[in-house]
Every structure is written in structure tokens, then in C-alpha cells.
């Protein structure tokens, strides 16, 4: 899914936190967003993800405005993921249930994505009883499982043990290659953006730096 941002501005009261004249994010690519704390990365992601509708300007998705169809085709993984008070399995199954997938098909998908992210052993644990890192893994699995066209990731590996980051990155790259998913990933880690991304956008004080 191609993303085009035109004249987007966001204010909190009198405080302008986002000011982007034009930004094009290529489809089927992995695009990184970097920049210091508070520069507006999460704000931008929430706007693209359709969660924040109080902004000026326009965002286009494959030349279309935001719609129900667009919403169903994308997802966002938050910096601090919130897991539902049900088992990890049911957490990952939830987006498939929303899309009325039958039990058998959805079971195969859930098991497959759990295996990819090496979280099969967490399957029966309660979502609200997991550690921060475990939650991030499950949240990524819950996003990948329904094969979105656009995947927005907000610092998805910030709580992850170093030896495990590779697994997550592989899952992200594979998703991009195999499923042609467009990915936007906010990261603090320059090496990570170099490993993963086809393009990197640098932000500072709400603006894109060139």
C-alpha cells in the first residue's frame, strides 16, 4: 500500500508537533523512521494508522482517502503493546475472528506465526501476565497473522533481548518479501534501520529532515 502525506500538521493546543509538507512512502518496501524522543514519530504513525483523526492535511492510501476498507487492511503495533486478558493464542486469533475466518484456517495461521516468532510455548499464558518483551513478540504476531497490506511498527524491539531481535527482524523481513506487506518502522537503532529498511526518514521537531 502506497502512502502519500500532504501538508499534514498536528497541534496540541498551541504546540505544533508535526509539520510535513509532502512525504511519499513506497509500497511493498520497508521504510524506517528515526529521530530523537518527542520529535513526532508516534504521532505520525497514529495519523497514518487512522487512530488520530484530529490533524490538518491529508493522507492517501493507494490514492484513496481513509476508509473502512483501508482500515481493515492495515494495523499498528504500539510502543507499549496492550494484550487482551485472554490467552496468547486467543490474542493472536482475535483479528482473524474479526474477519470471520473459520476455526480451522485460523488455527493453522496462529500456530504458524507463533512458530515463526518462537512463542509457541507462551500459547496458553494470559496476555496480561506477560513481560514487556514477551508482549512485544505476541503483539507482532497478532499483527502479522492477518496479513495486513500495511504494517506500522512503533519501536517493536525496544524491550527485546538482543539475541532475540534477529528472530523478530527475520519475521518482519520475511513478511515483507513473501506477503508484499508495506512496512513503516519507527526505530531508535540506526543499525537496525540499516539492516531492515529500504529507505529511512529522519525526523526532528515534527519535520522531515533531508
Amino acid at each position: 500500500m502506497n502512502i502519500e502525506i500532504r501538508n499534514v500538521e498536528k497541534y496540541y493546543g498551541d504546540n505544533q508537533v508535526l509539520d510535513i509538507d509532502y512525504l511519499n512512502i513506497e509500497k511493498e518496501k520497508i521504510t524506517g523512521i528515526t529521530g530523537p524522543n518527542g520529535c513526532g514519530k508516534t504521532t505520525l504513525l497514529n495519523i497514518i494508522g487512522g487512530l488520530d483523526k484530529e490533524f490538518l492535511g491529508e493522507v492517501f492510501y493507494d490514492n484513496n482517502k481513509f476508509s473502512k476498507k483501508v482500515k481493515q487492511a492495515m494495523t499498528i503495533v504500539f510502543q507499549k503493546p496492550y494484550l487482551l486478558k485472554r490467552t496468547v493464542y486467543e490474542n493472536i486469533e482475535y483479528p482473524l475472528k474479526l474477519r470471520n475466518m473459520n476455526k480451522k484456517e485460523s488455527k493453522a495461521k496462529v500456530l504458524d506465526v507463533m512458530k515463526k516468532l518462537e512463542i509457541t510455548d507462551l500459547m496458553d499464558k494470559r496476555g496480561n501476565k506477560l513481560s514487556g518483551g514477551e508482549s512485544q513478540k505476541v503483539a507482532l504476531a497478532r499483527a502479522l497473522v492477518f496479513n495486513p497490506k500495511l504494517l506500522l511498527l512503533d519501536e517493536p524491539t525496544s524491550n527485546i533481548d538482543p539475541e532475540y531481535i534477529v528472530t523478530m527482524e527475520n519475521a518482519i523481513t520475511q513478511f515483507n518479501l513473501k506477503n508484499k506487506g508495506t512496512i513503516i518502522i519507527v526505530t531508535h537503532n540506526i543499525q537496525q534501520s540499516e539492516r531492515l529498511c529500504h529507505a529511512v526518514i529522519n525526523m526532528n521537531r515534527g519535520k522531515i529532515q533531508t
Binding site: L51, K71, T75, F78, L98
Partner: protein, 229 residues
């Protein structure tokens, strides 16, 4: 002092002998308040979650009105229902005054603002993050409300139980609309109030004990349930 001891002794007698009258009064109380709580909650819980997470103009004023509604005295609610149901009132032709249905209607009006207010506050403070997850994963409005109710179900049940306690222990509304008619609309609280004015303590004490027991059992269930969540 003697009459107190005697009162308690006779009360215990009534309890252990499963006195028929006590039993029927307690059953009616439970029936009226449980029915009203269920109806009131089915209406109020989804609505309160809907308004709790919705952004709209006048929301602050709306909150204040909501919380004021919670503290309306029960006699006032009874009075309103009487005026509506009275022979000459808008619903007079249904002939509902001094019936169990009237008591249930009054208690629905009593329970609803309570369940609504408590759950509205809950959804306002804890619903947003759940709403965001629902939106991110592709849920529609209704699915988001269902999701929030499921996520907060323990807290919502506590609200419902609290409201039930309020319903079963109030006397003003059921007295006015039910009329405390023997074998018909007589419930725990109206009996206690009547027995008290007649100076007949054993029955009043027995019913008082039962009222406390009901409250204790409900809160124990809720408590153990919320422990294991």
C-alpha cells in the same frame, strides 16, 4: 435489654425454621432486585461504554449530570414512577401501580444511573487503550464496545453488584410504588420498616440479618472472582 435478647432469639427461630412468610418476602425481594439489576445493566453497560469512550462536545457537562443522577434519592425515583403510573398519569391505563412490575420499573430507574455512572467512569479511564487496540486490529464500533466490556468484565460485575446491593437495600422507591401489600408487594426493607413501626422486632431483625447475609455473599463471590482474574 430483655426485648433485644428475645428479639434476636425469635429472629433466629424464624431463620432456622425457614418461616414461610420470611421466605416469601426474601424471595420477592431477590426477584424484584435481580430482575431490575439485569434489565438496568443490559441497557446501561453498553451505553455507558459507548459514551465513556466517545469524544463529544459537552462531555464534561454530561459527566457531571451522570454523576448527579447517581445520587438522586430513591424516594424521588419512587415519586416519579408513581406520577407516571397513577390512574390519571400517562401510563395509568396499564394499571401498574402497587404491583411487582411497578417495583421493578422503579428499581430499573434506580439501578440504571448507578451502573451507568460507575461503568461510564471506568470506560473513560480504561477504555481508550482497549479502543485503540480494537481499531488497530480492524474492529468496528460494536465490536469495540464488546471488546471493552469483555476486558473490563470483572470491574463491570463489581459495579453491577454494587448497584444490586443498593437496589435490594433501598426502601423509599419500592414502598411508594409497591405499597407494601402483604403477599403481593412486601419486600425485605418495607417489612423491616413496617415491623419497626409496629414494635415487632423479631421479624425485622431476622430480615435485617438476611439482608446483610445477601450483601456478604455477593461481595464474597465478586471478591474471589476478581482475585483470580
Amino acid at each position: 435489654m430483655d426485648y433485644i435478647v428475645k428479639g434476636f432469639k425469635d429472629a433466629l427461630n424464624l431463620l432456622v425454621s425457614f418461616d414461610k412468610e420470611v421466605f416469601s418476602i426474601v424471595s420477592l425481594s431477590l426477584f424484584v432486585s435481580i430482575t431490575a439489576t439485569i434489565i438496568g445493566s443490559l441497557i446501561s453497560v453498553p451505553l455507558s461504554v459507548y459514551f465513556g469512550i466517545k469524544e463529544f462536545r459537552w462531555k464534561k457537562l454530561f459527566s457531571r449530570i451522570t454523576y448527579t443522577m447517581m445520587s438522586i434519592p430513591t424516594v424521588v425515583i419512587g415519586l416519579v414512577v408513581v406520577i407516571i403510573l397513577a390512574r390519571k398519569g400517562p401510563f395509568g391505563r396499564f394499571d401498574l401501580l402497587y404491583t411487582r412490575k411497578a417495583m421493578i420499573i422503579a428499581q430499573v430507574l434506580l439501578v440504571s444511573p448507578y451502573v451507568f455512572g460507575l461503568t461510564y467512569g471506568l470506560a473513560k479511564s480504561r477504555g481508550e487503550i482497549i479502543e485503540k487496540i480494537g481499531l488497530a486490529l480492524g474492529a468496528n464500533r460494536l465490536e469495540i464496545i464488546v471488546l471493552i466490556i469483555r476486558e473490563l468484565k470483572v470491574d463491570i460485575l463489581v459495579n453491577v453488584a454494587t448497584s444490586f446491593s443498593r437496589a435490594i437495600s433501598e426502601v423509599g422507591a419500592v414502598m411508594i410504588v409497591g405499597g407494601n401489600i402483604k403477599h403481593h408487594t412486601r419486600v425485605i426493607t418495607t417489612t423491616i420498616s413496617m415491623m419497626n413501626s409496629m414494635g415487632d422486632y423479631p421479624m425485622a431483625i431476622a430480615l435485617g440479618i438476611i439482608l446483610i447475609l445477601i450483601s456478604f455473599v455477593i461481595h464474597s463471590i465478586i471478591y474471589s472472582y476478581s482475585e483470580e482474574k
